[in-house]
Symmetry: C2
DNA sequence: TAAAAATACTCCATAGGTATTTTAT
DNA sequence: ATAAAATACCTATGGAGTATTTTTA
């Protein structure tokens, strides 16, 4: 049969123009090399070399084989090298899924830092609803996920990596602008802008409200919109107030477009989690990234 | 180790998403397939599949390997196919050497006929002096040669494939135009156009003259030129007369630019030979071509 | 519990070795 | 006569098998 080992021996013979020298170069004995040549020749049914005791010459068949053999050999070398790089984390792709808040405000920074450590890294970030992100992780469309809500599954492991807080925002000029704290009962009757169902922010908010005995459907919802940006635009347009992630309003607070107002006795704190499928083998780079994120949080 | 056999099994597993099915497809048993996967994994130091009793999934390492494996496998298939074609004479190159007369007037026609039988044929024809052509054959720069003179060598086998004759040509208006035959003594004193040394035609002529007791240096040489075409041009320009291959003056005879004149008691007949290096293995197409030429001559 | 892969073992083909012969310069 | 490749023969690794166990959905 033709295998890589044989082809490499054949290539060495061609390059060194000698069975004996090729044997030496391959750490074999001359008879072994002769056997390999005989094996290829009988497999192909063609002579590869014209040989006498003084010199050897490639036949046309030998020349034909040599062209393929070098190409195949080069591919094998490329393969080996790729795996060395892969194991050494010099190359690799990180396929991340993230829900909207972490996708916009966390993951880009984390990847920026990490890429500094591993310049060969390629990244794909898919931003979807938390539920969809988790499904993509289970479907192996992404390697890791970052979401703000825990959707339990026996294959998934959640590790908190970034604290966050849902804060009540009011637009410039709102009558609460100079009041540091309001009652929850006041919030309930105030016009409210709501995220769509499936959003992690919405889910966390609902959960929290229920935990303090409030039915979310009692809120005075004047609009239900599909993204954090849309919520902010709506609030800025004085359509109502809303709870949003503190991470998402840094710029607006600086520009005094919004103010945050505390709600008495209530803190909507939450975490964003790194989510891993423990049933899956992760690539060296992927493991490194997970480790990096977790260690980064602990300090 | 990684060899083609293993890679092909690996590819089948990926394609069929099952060790068991892959085993069947490769005419192996499932444990054997498992062993091969384990061998690759331990060689690379990386897991290729996440597997459970229900389904298997490629890891990133597996995906990386798959990309290379398919490419390598495709190259092997291409190699096999090439050799099938090569053995079946569907592809191949004929590297021919030929001296000037056969290169111009014989080989093109022979190749034309032969290519009809084997359309995949590629041909290279190098035209040189007979001596150079023979040297190229010995140096393996060409596979076969066609020359008009036998230069003996223990590695070379000459087979006559085409008869020829050196004929005396005179230009239109020459005083011998209406004389059918002249004496050799008349030829000797007539202005004569000579081919250069090294030319097969020159060699054959010298040989023949010597064999009938004439020293070629006694000819009344008025010009020594480097090609048959140059000889013909010189004769046409009434510089002198010359002996040339009958094959080379077909057109000129038709146009009555030349006439041939017989020399009493002398016929300069000769052969063109196919020359083979018997120490060399020839390609299937090359053998076919030799056989074709030889059989063609016998009929 | 059922289906797939892993493990344990056995066997034999063959890659690799040593010793020697053949071949061509 | 010499130097390289071919041949003959031996050994041992590992590829492929059968029988069985493990794993998890």
């Amino acid at each position: 049969m033709l295998d890589i080992h044989r082809l490499k021996i054949f290539i060495k013979i061609v390059e060194l123009k000698s069975f004996k020298m090729a044997a030496k170069a391959c750490w074999l004995t001359q008879p072994t090399v002769s056997q390999h040549v005989a094996a290829i020749e009988s497999f192909l049914g063609l002579k590869l070399f014209d040989r006498n005791s003084k010199e050897i010459h490639l036949t046309q068949a030998g020349q034909l084989l040599y062209r393929y053999a070098t190409e195949i050999s080069a591919l094998f070398d490329a393969l080996s090298q790729s795996f060395e790089l892969f194991k050494g984390k010099k190359i690799g792709t990180l396929n991340l899924g993230a829900s909207t808040i972490p996708g916009d405000y966390i993951v880009p920074h984390l990847l920026g830092e990490f890429k500094h450590l591993y310049p060969g890294l390629k990244t794909n970030v898919l931003i979807r609803d938390s539920k969809d992100v988790i499904q993509m992780l289970l479907d192996r469309h992404v390697d890791l996920a970052v979401v703000g809500t825990e959707i339990k599954h026996n294959r998934l492991k959640y590790t908190p990596i970034m604290p966050d807080e849902l804060v009540l925002i009011i637009p410039l000029g709102h009558r609460w602008w100079d009041i540091p704290m309001v009652e929850m009962s006041e919030v309930i009757i105030e016009p409210f802008v709501m995220r769509e169902n499936g959003s992690g922010t919405r889910l966390e908010m609902d959960k929290k409200l229920k935990s303090i005995g409030i039915d979310p459907s009692n809120l005075n919802v004047v609009a239900e919109v599909g993204s954090t940006t849309a919520v902010k635009e709506a609030v800025e347009s004085r359509l109502g107030i809303s709870f949003v992630s503190r991470l998402s309003i840094e710029k607006e607070l600086k520009l005094a477009i919004f103010k945050t107002v505390r709600v008495r006795d209530i803190v909507f704190s939450r975490w964003f989690y790194l989510v891993r499928d423990i049933f899956r083998t992760s690539s060296p780079l992927c493991s490194s990234f997970s480790k990096y994120l977790i260690e980064r949080t602990q300090t």
